[in-house]
Every structure is written in C-alpha cells, then in structure tokens.
Amino acid sequence: MKKWLVLLMLPLVLAFTGCSSSNMSAIEEQEDGTRATYLKSNNSLLYSRLGIRDPKTTMAGDLMRAQATLENRWKFKLDFQYKVKWFNADGFEIAPEGRPWTTVVMPGRTQLNVQATAPNPTATRFEIWVQE
C-alpha cells in the first residue's frame, strides 16, 4: 500500500517542481571587468560557461554598431538565448522590446560572433544578456 501512496504522491511533487520557476541570484561579479560589463545573465551556471571576447563598437553614420564574440568554454554544447540591449548616456534602455531573444546552439569549445545596430543615434553602450 505504501508503494501506491508513493506513486500517487510522485506526480504531486513533480507538479510542484514543474510550476516553480528558477530565479537565480543577480549577476556574478567576475575579476574580468570587461565580461561583467558586456555579458549579463540571471543564470549563474550558464554565465560561468560562457565567455565574451573582443567586444567592440563602430559607427555607421551616427548609429553605433556592436560586435562581440561569445565563447562556449564548456566541452559540451550549450543551448541558450541571447538578446542585445542598448542604453543611452543616461543609462536608459532604448526600445526595451525592440529585439527578440535569439536561440542559439553552440557546440562545445566554439565561438559565435554577435552583431547588432543601435535602434537610434542616442545609444552609447550595449549589453548582451543570455538566458537558458
């Protein structure tokens, strides 16, 4: 009888875990200041497996263009989403819903170039946010 009770309670436990959402703590500060400036995530595990190289900007007229190389430091493939966010000189995000989360699958130990053009000339800096 006890087995039946355990089986009956199992969906209950699974349902509870299915309904809850993981909410990781804020961004983990790294010694590498560049990484902390450009790469942001609320998922510390994903953040620890990703690196960012050569973040750079150029101007297309008065519009800022950005490029950065995301690096999968893990030996297995990473399935995640990224979004480029733009900010003006006052720190306000420009067009917060202007860009979608883009899904990427990166094989282990590979790199991916991410590019974006600012929504308007007021943009002065960018961040790349990643999530699972």
């Binding site: 309670m9 509870f16 309904c19 067009a95 979608p100």
Partner: protein, 196 residues
C-alpha cells in the same frame, strides 16, 4: 486508510488544477510551439532587416544629412502558410521611423486622408485658415518591397522548415535597387521515440 487516500487524491487534483493558470509572458521570448511562422521569426526578420539596412554604407550616406521618404509595398507571400506579412513590414517601418533615418507615407490610408481633406475644404465646417490644403503631400523617394518563401521537407519523424525573407529598397525615380537584405530561418521538429 481511506482518509489518507482521499487526502492524497485531493492534493493531486488541487495541484493539477492549480497549474492551469493564465500568465503574461515576455513578448520577445523565443517561441517554439511548432515549426509554423511565429512571433520570434517576425521579430528576428525585422531586427535583421533594419540592422542591415541602417548599417549599409550607401544608405548611411543617403540618410546622413536628410530623412528620405519611403513607402512599403506589399511583401509577396510565396510560402504555403497564411502569414500576416503586413505585420512584419509594420514592425520594420516602426523601427526605421524610430531610428530617425527614414520617414514614411502610408498608402493604405490614402482614401481616408482624401475624404478628410475634402471634408475640411468643402463641408463649410472647418475654418479656412486652419484647413489642411490638398496637393501638398510629399512624394515617396524610395519603395520597400520583397517576398518570403519557404521550403518544407518532412519524413516520418522529422519536419524541417526553411524560410527566406528578402527585402529591397528601390529608388523610385531611377529604378535602382539601393539595398537588398535577406534573412534565413531554419526550424526543425523531431518526434520522440514514443511518438510524441
């Protein structure tokens, strides 16, 4: 023992019904319900087209001193799906206007604009000094147009969909295509080993 059973069943029922709730989500979140054209595809296409157009050197030069006027022609749907492509061009148009680089005229409201101008001119209800005058609209210099096609392949366990969206910017007077951009999207769906 019966009470224990009742309690367990009640807990299961309450939990399962509790999971069915309406929630608001992030409109920019990646949507992968099925392989049909979806909100993420729309947003990715619009973002790529606007990024490419605004960064293309000749377009940067054209828009550096002035804001050219353009209009959006329809996008030809060559896929087998019913897709609201006006929604895609609306998003592209909004982004281009908000970039401060282009201005647009809207051909879909021409008749209503004419009716309003005629009303202001002829009805006697509007102060002549404040009535808008006909014949002063600005002609579009550029036209945005394009098409969307798809290739669908499937076998017993996998469905693979490839979308290609092409957008072009033509100078109306000369007919020259000043810019052309493409966005390709591939989506595939595989059935699990138990057929789900």
């Amino acid at each position: 023992m019966k009470k224990v059973w009742m309690f367990a069943l009640l807990a299961v029922a309450a939990t399962l019904s509790g999971c069915q709730s309406v929630q608001y989500g992030d409109a920019t979140a990646s949507e992968t319900v099925n392989t049909d054209f979806g909100s993420t595809d729309l947003q990715m296409i619009a973002a790529k087209m606007v990024d490419d157009l605004l960064a293309f050197p000749p377009v940067v030069q054209i828009t550096s001193q002035r804001r050219p006027v353009a209009f959006v022609d329809r996008i030809k749907n060559k896929t087998t799906e019913h897709i609201d492509l006006e929604s895609v061009t609306d998003t592209i148009e909004s982004k281009l206007i908000n970039s401060g680089k282009f201005r647009f005229v809207d051909m879909s409201v021409v008749e209503r604009v004419r009716q309003q101008l005629e009303y202001q001119r002829d009805s006697g209800m509007v102060d002549d000094q404040q009535a808008m005058i006909m014949g002063r609209q600005v002609g579009a210099e550029y036209m945005l147009y394009g098409n969307m096609s798809s290739i669908v392949k499937r076998d017993s366990s996998t469905k693979d969909v490839y979308y290609k969206f092409t957008l072009k910017l033509m100078h109306l007077e000369t007919g020259i295509i000043e810019w052309s951009g493409e966005k390709e999207i591939r989506k595939s769906k595989s059935r699990g080993w138990i057929g789900l």
